[in-house]
Symmetry: C2
Subunit: 93 residues, 2 copies
């Protein structure tokens, strides 16, 4: 999981909306899909990208696959991002 992978995962509004939904509670793929107009396979693609970035996890529960947000990873990323783009100290004006 490189930072590029993570930021790329976050650089899409659909995927950020999925994160918002999962912030409230864990949800099965089908429930997530109800919040979007795209097809379930398309959504599955986005969920997979979030999973590759380690931003979400999934577990099977009967016929459902439940997605949940990886909160600790989310915090880690903010820290990394801050290290990279924040705290700039310029030597010229």
């Amino acid at each position: 999981m490189t930072l590029s992978t993570t930021l790329n995962a976050l650089a899409d509004p659909t995927r950020r909306k999925i994160i918002q939904l999962l912030k409230k509670k864990d949800l099965p793929a089908g429930e997530i899909a109800k919040n979007f107009t795209m097809t379930l396979p398309s959504l599955s693609h986005h969920l997979n990208i979030l999973k590759m970035a380690n931003l979400v996890s999934s577990r099977r529960a009967g016929q459902n696959i439940i997605y949940s947000l990886n909160l600790s990873v989310v915090d880690e990323i903010i820290g990394e991002l801050y290290g990279i783009i924040g705290k700039g100290v310029k030597k010229n004006k």
Copy 2:
């Protein structure tokens, strides 16, 4: 400048490296290019993406075009990001 635009700009290692360089001091395009193996036009493309995202600014100084980091915008983004992916409060385990 949407958040998607900004995150997309940051989701590329070349562009993050440019930001690192500009954190130390403002630099003309040619100086930035010396840190990479790609051609100047390719670099110019990346600089333009950073500019579109409002992460950097440019000004002309004679024959040079000097790039500089927009520090305040950088801080703003971290805040936005934190609002979006941070502070998760889940209702189920």
